[in-house]
């Protein structure tokens, strides 16, 4: 039965995703609180560990409000589109060499294509709400996503040139073979993808479509309760998707750092040690919790971490050639993949709490006048490097570095010329124009 395992994986992902998204929200709130010299959620469960569940229950029990003049059917369906497309995109992601729902030879394109459909959820939701704020938010996000998909796509092309395949698994294997993560071979490409992926997931400093101080909540203004939760789920799923793409393309996917350097194999002990450390912290904090239930819960979390640590240790402690030892790549691969995804998402949060928000026209200018040209130059730079390497038999490192330097020069030029074009009062020169309808 070839379908059993994929279906099983799919069920696991669909079942766990809301929970994971909920806990990413909790982590985000905790990170935010830490950066803003406060504590964050502390009430529900020890250190607010049960907050996501309380939030989910609250959202599910809320009254479902549909504005009177809304297009009911579209209003009802739009959040579903967002969530579905975000989840489908997860299908092609290799969470470790074994955990993957579908291995496609167009894997990466599939993810891009499906997640580009998610915009319909936003645009239609904004339109169906029949409110100015929603419509403006929807229009902004449509323009923003279309613009930044271009540069994200071009950034990906750069990495694809290096990998020579569209298959997500193949890309990671290419990085394993060359022993270089593509972030080092194409740093500019990674930078472009980082910026573009923040813009594509509508996160600060590019959160125009839902800029709360301007458009209240953008396309989500009229949504509440469960439907709103669906949008939120879609947003966080999209974050996971773009982080996974970045991990796969640039950060070596499921590979351990220095995966093929055998004298650094002791790095394999890091994951179980990390888990044990978290467990130790939980046990240390457990008696200090105020209520008995919270003590037990804290201890349970600690136990869970112990179990995870044991799972991570098992394949290493097991005798060679046993089944357990052969599962090491899968288990440790999953750990490293998720770890990198988490780190990428952490960067998202970090940026969000550090930077002010771009203005819409500045965002567009950044996208079209800086990122798109830079990403094209980046592809050419990598192409030049690869051509020197493959056709003229240059050694790989100097060839690629030459490409990177070329790209950086072009980037500096773009930055320098871009400054001149900025004029704060938009469309000032158009004001004298006669109106079209006159």
């Amino acid at each position: 039965m070839p379908y059993v395992l994929p279906v099983l994986f799919a069920l696991v992902i669909v079942a766990l995703l809301p929970l994971v998204a909920g806990y990413i929200v909790l982590v985000e709130r905790k990170v935010m609180a830490d950066m803003q010299v406060r504590l964050g959620p502390m009430r529900v469960g020890p250190h607010g560990l049960l907050q996501p569940i309380a939030d989910a229950v609250k959202l599910l029990l809320k009254e479902d409000i549909i504005p009177e003049s809304a297009d009911r059917l579209v209003f009802w369906g739009a959040p579903l589109i967002s969530v579905t497309t975000a989840m489908v995109a997860l299908a092609a992601l290799p969470i470790g060499p074994f955990f993957q729902i579908a291995e496609l030879n167009i894997g990466l394109l599939f993810i891009l294509g499906v997640s580009s459909l998610g915009i319909f959820g936003i645009v239609l939701g904004g339109w169906a709400s029949n409110s100015h704020y929603s419509l403006l938010g929807a229009l902004r996000s449509a323009a923003q996503l279309v613009s930044y998909e271009t540069s994200a796509g071009m950034a990906i092309v750069g990495a694809l040139l290096l990998a020579g395949t569209l298959s997500t698994r193949g890309i990671v294997q290419a990085q394993a073979q060359t022993e270089v993560w593509f972030i080092f071979a194409a740093p500019v490409g990674f930078f472009i993808y980082l910026v573009a992926s923040i813009a594509e997931t509508n996160r600060a400093p590019f959160d125009m479509p839902e800029a709360e101080s301007e458009l209240v909540a953008g396309y989500m203004t009229e949504y509440s309760g469960f439907r709103w939760a669906l949008y939120f789920l879609a947003e966080y799923t999209n974050m996971i998707v773009v982080a996974s793409i970045a991990t796969t393309l640039f950060l070596g996917g499921w590979l351990r750092p220095f995966a093929s350097t055998s004298y650094l194999d002791f790095l394999d002990w890091l994951p179980p040690l990390l888990m044990a450390g978290v467990a130790g912290y939980c046990f240390w904090r457990a008696p200090k919790q105020p209520v008995a239930v919270q003590k037990m819960f804290m201890a349970a979390v600690g136990l869970l971490c112990i179990v995870l640590a044991l799972v991570l240790i098992m394949p290493m402690a097991a005798p060679r050639d046993s089944f357990l030892a052969s599962s090491k790549a899968g288990i440790h691969g999953a750990f490293w993949f998720l770890f990198k995804v988490g780190a990428y998402i952490y960067v998202f949060m970090w940026l969000r709490f550090t930077f002010p928000r771009y203005r819409f026209d500045q965002l567009m200018r950044l996208g079209w006048q800086f990122l798109v040209p830079l990403s094209i130059v980046n592809v050419m730079g990598i192409g030049v490097g690869l051509a020197l390497h493959r056709q003229l038999n240059w050694p790989a490192a100097p060839a690629l570095i030459l490409g990177i330097v070329l790209t950086l020069v072009a980037g500096a030029y773009l930055l320098a010329t871009g400054e001149k074009h900025e004029h704060p009062r938009v469309g000032e020169e158009e004001e004298e124009e006669t109106p079209v309808n006159a």
């Binding site: 297009d71 579209v74 496609l104 030879n105 167009i106 394109l109 599939f110 891009l112 294509g113 499906v114 580009s116 459909l117 915009i119 319909f120 645009v123 239609l124 339109w127 419509l135 929807a138 229009l139 449509a142 323009a143 996503l145 279309v146 998909e149 569209l166 124009e433």
Partner: protein, 168 residues
């Protein structure tokens, strides 16, 4: 068996959506059904093991062009169009033309049914990954037409920008 079920499902979906595209009065709803029709077609491509075509259909038509369609539709006030008569009085002529066309196609199929040559489908396993094949043909065999086409598109694009911009 499964192939046929999938094909008929997507085909039916495409046809029903296509009909709904032209019958809906609300332009946004029409656009939504157009997206559905395009996606159903993409599904048929996938069923035929043409993954690259499938994903290009999804990215370009559904994800790119249709988003711009909806973008424009939402910018323009369409409430007026909702209350206008959508069909003019020449529906009778249109009906005759459609009937003639349908008859022609039916006749063509009926006459050449025996002689119509259809290629046997290649087994999916023996196919090369078609992304690479498409790239190979585009950049090797047909590189000149490909470049000409892209220059034509570029010219069209520049022209559109120039015409849209009132003062250069």
């Amino acid at each position: 068996m499964l192939d046929q079920v999938v094909f008929y499902f997507f085909a039916a979906l495409a046809i029903v959506s296509a009909i709904l595209v032209v019958t809906r009065r609300n332009a946004v709803q029409s656009a939504i059904f157009l997206v559905t029709a395009l996606l159903a077609t993409a599904g048929i491509f996938l069923n035929l093991n043409a993954e690259f075509l499938f994903i290009v259909q999804v990215i370009l038509y559904a994800g790119g062009i249709m988003v711009l369609f909806i973008f424009v539709i939402m910018l323009v006030n369409l409430d007026v169009a909702l209350h206008q008569v959508q069909f003019n009085r020449q529906w009778f002529v249109a009906l005759i033309i459609s009937a003639v066309l349908a008859a022609q196609v039916a006749a063509a199929i009926a006459v050449s049914r025996r002689t119509l040559y259809t290629m046997p489908a290649a087994p999916a396993e023996s196919l090369q990954p078609n992304t690479e094949r498409v790239a190979f043909y585009l950049f090797h065999t047909y590189v000149l037409p490909f470049e000409i086409a892209s220059i034509l598109l570029l010219v069209a694009m520049v022209g559109a920008v120039v015409m849209a911009k009132k003062r250069v």
